[in-house]
Amino acid sequence: MKPLLAIILAAMLTNNFVLSKFLGICPFLGVSKKVNTATGMSVAVIFVMVLATIVCYPINLLLVSKDMEYLQTIVFILVIAALVQLVEIVLKKYILSLYSALGIYLPLITTNCAVLGVVLLNISDGYNFVQSVVNSFGAGVGFMIAMLMFAGVRERLEAADIPETLKGLPITLISASLTAVSFLGFTGVVEGIFG
């Protein structure tokens, strides 16, 4: 069995969801203009990812036992969408302070490919329940690391003198590329420690 620490480190650094798997690019580019909003979004993503994994794991066992694995995509996307709505309603009713911090970001997460992606990857990697939850948490934290690093870079970018053609989205993507280069440095680190 893979050690849990190896799973969490791999999900955070070597297989970073945003910078090496390209999942969740929309919020990565869309809400990373300021460190504050980036933090809120990332916390919401971690929360929903872990919750979705906890809920989808038993549902997948049920699907497998009934030989209906082909329904995975449909079932999971609906479960995640319903779950996000439910979380939003519960937070609004009972924990208003958390709702005002995360509420804006929750609807955006429904169609975030990172959440569906982590659920599907847990299954294709054959993780058990604990491993799945740990992997989702690591992936969420990895998303947060990438978001915060990138938000820092973008705040600096505001003041930079950029050629007219590259202004806006192109320079954002090029700086994302440079941020991704820094994550290449982690290649082999986890295998080196635990291999």
Partner: protein
């Protein structure tokens, strides 16, 4: 004749004027992830096109039946069904492509291009026009993926569609098929398309924020406004 012309217009606008990848900047995840080789990029493009056409047709046919309150979940179910069908077909007949695309094949479900077209076009237009729109958007998406994967595969692996190119294959620049190369090439392509667009007097492409989100109506609009105001205030 007039109808034919407008149908062609619906089809052709997706290819250049409103190219989903380079002008509307939708569906960035598969664009970056599956363009490491021309083969997987074309596979992804065709799979997404099939889903786009089929879901556009069905959603347009059902547009008067689906109550507007539950339309987004209804669209998602329709799209997810077609994605599952495509996934099963690819698994059965093209196992190599299935291995290359991996998790990105089921993730077509959350591709914003498809949900975006369902919401913006298929829910308001007739079946044939929606099919033409889906085909055009799909072709535009595939063309953008093809362009990007060509650059990445030629520079990064020294080959094109798996055939190695004599001089380049001796010194491939590996970085182009690694993740950073994806961001870099995409950034440069957007810069290029912006340059061409501004020459013709159009606005450069940008992330639309809340406005471009297909959930703009269904998500809490007060919150949504706050979010966009916040971004404007910066």
């Amino acid at each position: 004749m007039a109808e034919k012309k407008s149908l062609f217009k619906e089809f052709s606008k997706g290819i250049i004027k409103e190219n989903p990848t380079l002008r509307l900047v939708l569906g960035t995840c598969p664009t970056l992830a599956t363009t490491t080789s021309v083969e997987s990029a074309i596979g992804m493009g065709i799979a997404a096109t099939v889903v786009l056409i089929c879901s556009n047709i069905v959603i347009s046919a059902l547009r008067k039946v689906i109550p507007s309150k539950v339309r987004i979940p209804a669209y998602v179910v329709v799209i997810a069904s077609f994605v599952t069908i495509v996934q099963m077909l690819v698994k059965a007949f093209l196992p190599d492509l299935n291995n290359q695309l991996g998790v990105y094949l089921p993730l077509i479900v959350v591709n914003c291009i498809i949900l975006g077209r369902a919401e913006a076009f298929a829910s308001k237009n007739a079946v044939i026009a929606s099919a033409a729109d889906g085909l055009g958007m799909g072709v535009g998406f595939t063309a953008a993926l093809f362009l990007m994967s060509t650059v990445r595969e030629v520079l990064g692996a020294g080959s094109f569609y798996g055939m190695s190119i004599p001089v380049l294959s001796a010194h491939p620049m590996l970085i182009f098929i690694l993740p950073p190369g994806g961001f870099f090439v995409f950034g440069l392509l957007i810069a290029l398309s912006n340059k061409l667009a501004t020459k013709k007097g159009k606005k450069p492409a940008n992330l639309g924020g809340c406005k471009a989100c297909p959930f703009v109506d269904s998500c809490n609009s007060a919150n949504c406004e706050n979010a966009s105001k916040e971004e404007v205030a910066e």
